[in-house]
Symmetry: D2
Subunit: 286 residues, 4 copies
């Protein structure tokens, strides 16, 4: 968003469907002098749920009041709402291990202004990417984690995230599984990139699994991390064609491009408040 | 749409952008007891134009009044509107020559219930597809057209289309260029499929042009026909990969699948009132 | 292949890799006066296996001798070979149930000359497609199969296939699982289309499974049928993008296009002797 | 290629087709004790031209003799050949201006070992990327070029390329057109990335042209630079979907990912001796 763009509010809301919701929400904003820029809604006909992303320019000085007011208004309709100001730049941490392709890709996009966020920490269980991170001028934190030291490692990670007030963690090919306990305590979104077309080839060594099965396409999946490994709500997926000529090494190499693009897109959508999670699925207002 | 779905109204509207449009349109429908099912809008920031597709269930017995009323309401906002009832099944004619792949594809989709329209005529300048058309139970009209007889041929086509009250013509690899005069007199939408990724390879023998240039992807483009050949508003495009191993014959064969799918999708979007034309471009609310 | 194309032999061979194989095979053909048109090989470096597809014009009158000779020659190299004459048109049966999209698609491609085969039977456990099949001038056989009558039904199918000397069975959304016993007794290739991106969503109702999981792409997979359901060697796969706006009905509709194209491509490759099966995978020389 | 892979020779050859070519080439290598790893050939049936890429492990100590000998052998068949040793790492220069996405992408791939080449110079007409280049430890040369100073600028570039013995120039969104004179004098391959699906939108501001025309896909094309702007032999192309919601800025942003991947793939194929140019087209043995 250019510096000349007006500051807007974005609401993501969902709840039981009922007649008149589109008009009521639009009316509420209009009455307060707001100007709606975008409004996109979806109805899950089977489940009877209404979903909406609505973005508006509040009237002069009303951003804060509108934010609070909209939550109450949504509650009065039996809906859950999440309102974000476009001027808010969330604080983000990237977790990495030794693979550097997603790391470089995310950081370069961020440096070029693609992501409206603050990149406050690169966290790793290894030192390999330390000099690269520092070369980018980014704080790098090494917190070793092994299966034996996981509780202590995760405690240290949590303390770091809290001290930095991190609002989003991106697992950029971070090679440790976060425990259910960690996710519960962090209680904020964690986006992971898995190097397969989920639900195929969940778990370890997905490219080996793909080569073994003889698939003709390999994939990558960006999803929110949940307590069940590789089972969280999917944000974005893509695939690329492979043939018998591609060995596992080739799948790994070709997969890197997929991983970068799929993760980058998912992060972008998340930061633009375009992703609404319900149950184990996402509604992406792109 | 299943037979149990409620009859809805769909409005496509566009005009100069101004604050409050989303709320006003939603409010107008709400006040008349309508229930908005879908509303999708777009702003062309540079041109300052607002576009919207909105679909609602009118209150009992109000469909006709709402249709007329909405046009007046839109005009009062300085907008152009086009309102269609989902119960209306437009009358469609397919123009063909000798190639049969798009013809079969469209007819089979229509027979399987994919298209909410009446297929009232297959029109051709050749007899090759007559028995296939009659096998499907469709009226087949032969109207020979050559460069020498084009005015008479087009006059006969126009008379046929008027007598059948045809609301949409689909050129399913029809091998004659419709004259500007024909298009003006018909004055209703004509969808054409061109077998290239326009604007590349407009005009004749696009697969030969593609082979000559050595491109690595071939394409197909569905667009509204206008007075300028292959230059009308694009509705849908797609491409598929080719290599040096593919000769012109292979491009023709691979292209057939592209042409079928691209044309089928464009027709579907048109019939569902999802395509709004402005200038030489389209807004597709998919 | 046009009628002017010379009759060729195509050999698919594979076996333990060893130095000089490419030269020896080419030399064997050259010495007999053959002219190699295409030769494509692949080495599985890990498994140490050599694969080749080689197509040549035998010297005048030598097609039969070359075919027999090549088998012996390959055996002398420790390789398995399968040689086919391009003039041979395999006898094919299509199994269908009630869905007709793959059925129409395959038959129309065959009628347009895309497939060098004889279509000798449409076999179904239902009568729905009988008139369509007969409309195409194709023999239609109804063999009811239920879980209770499966042994008798499959026995009748096998007898029919043998009496017609069928060399390839295509399951075009045939809704019964063929038993291991059937596959062993038929002992010839059976190509199935599964409406998911295998190995994801094997088994029943894959579009429902996909909607449930919230994937962002749906797929289709053509594979050789084996005793394990949806687990045979994959010939071709493709995917298409879906969003939260697509309900199960939309997945079914969008999936139909995928199923048609993926199955059509797999059948084409098989008929052109481009698919070599080893273990549970395929090498596709496209 | 891992360090344990044997050093191989790769020949690209083409010339008038004649019977027995596959066998003769394979025989020539076999007689000298070479072991063919890969052999891929193509016949342009219309033009009567034979193309082949063949890779072999020469017998111990024979690499140099085989290289020279193969050229003579090919000439005796009336063919042109180009033989490269896999151990040879070509010296490469990247030309950049201010855009940095392709620059970072290529350099990071090179640093991760994807490209078997020496990156000997980053050449620019601006200083913007100097610190990034130096941060990567790469020599950075600023040679200002304006329309007024083009002859002097190009002379300086040529002198630099010669002094560094550069064998390949990559134009990574370099914003100056190289003159015909430069290309003739350099006389070695120059790969350019153009940000459209050529031949559509050649020349300047292709994303603006694409937005103006209302296309539904945008593309990128990697090609060898020739005297005619954006008209050289195409190596690789790809496209991505856009909608009416994407303004020019979005096309630019989405296009960056396309440009990176298309250029990276073309460079990789070139460095692996997989691209054979004939006339204004390429045969890519992938």
């Amino acid at each position: 968003m250019s510096s000349l763009a007006p500051s807007t509010l974005v609401a993501l809301l969902h709840g039981p469907d009922q007649p008149g919701l589109v008009a009521r929400v639009a009316g509420w904003i209009f009455e307060r002098g707001g100007n709606i820029l975008h409004a996109d809604q979806h109805r899950d006909m089977e489940a009877g749920i209404f979903f909406q992303r609505i973005e508006w320019v509040p009237s002069q000085g009303a951003a804060s009041a509108d934010t609070a007011g909209f939550h109450s208004f949504a509650a009065s309709l039996g809906m859950q709402a999440h309102v974000t100001a476009s001027s808010h730049r969330p604080r983000v941490a990237i977790f990495v291990s030794k693979f550097d392709h997603c790391f470089h890709d995310l950081v370069l996009r961020w440096k070029s202004g693609d992501y409206a966020c603050e990149l406050v920490a690169i966290v790793s269980n290894h030192r390999e990417l330390e000099s690269s991170a520092r070369g980018y001028g980014l704080p790098f934190y090494v917190i070793p984690v092994t299966s034996a030291t996981k509780p202590e490692g995760e405690a240290a990670q949590l303390e770091l995230l809290r001290s930095l007030d991190v609002e989003l963690v991106i697992l950029a090919r971070y090679m440790q599984v976060l425990s259910e306990d960690f996710l519960e305590k962090f209680a904020r979104p964690v986006i992971n990139i898995h190097h397969s077309f989920l639900p195929a080839f969940a778990g370890g060594r997905p490219y080996h699994q793909a080569a073994e099965r003889g698939v003709k396409l390999i994939g990558a999946t960006a999803h929110y991390a949940t307590a069940v490994l590789d089972d969280g709500p999917i944000i974005q997926q893509d695939v690329t064609r492979v043939t018998h000529r591609h060995g596992v090494d080739d799948l790994v190499r070709k997969g890197r491009d997929l991983e970068k693009i799929v993760l980058a897109q998912a992060v972008r959508w998340h930061l633009e408040s375009r992703v609404l999670v319900y149950g184990n699925k996402t509604v992406v207002f792109d």
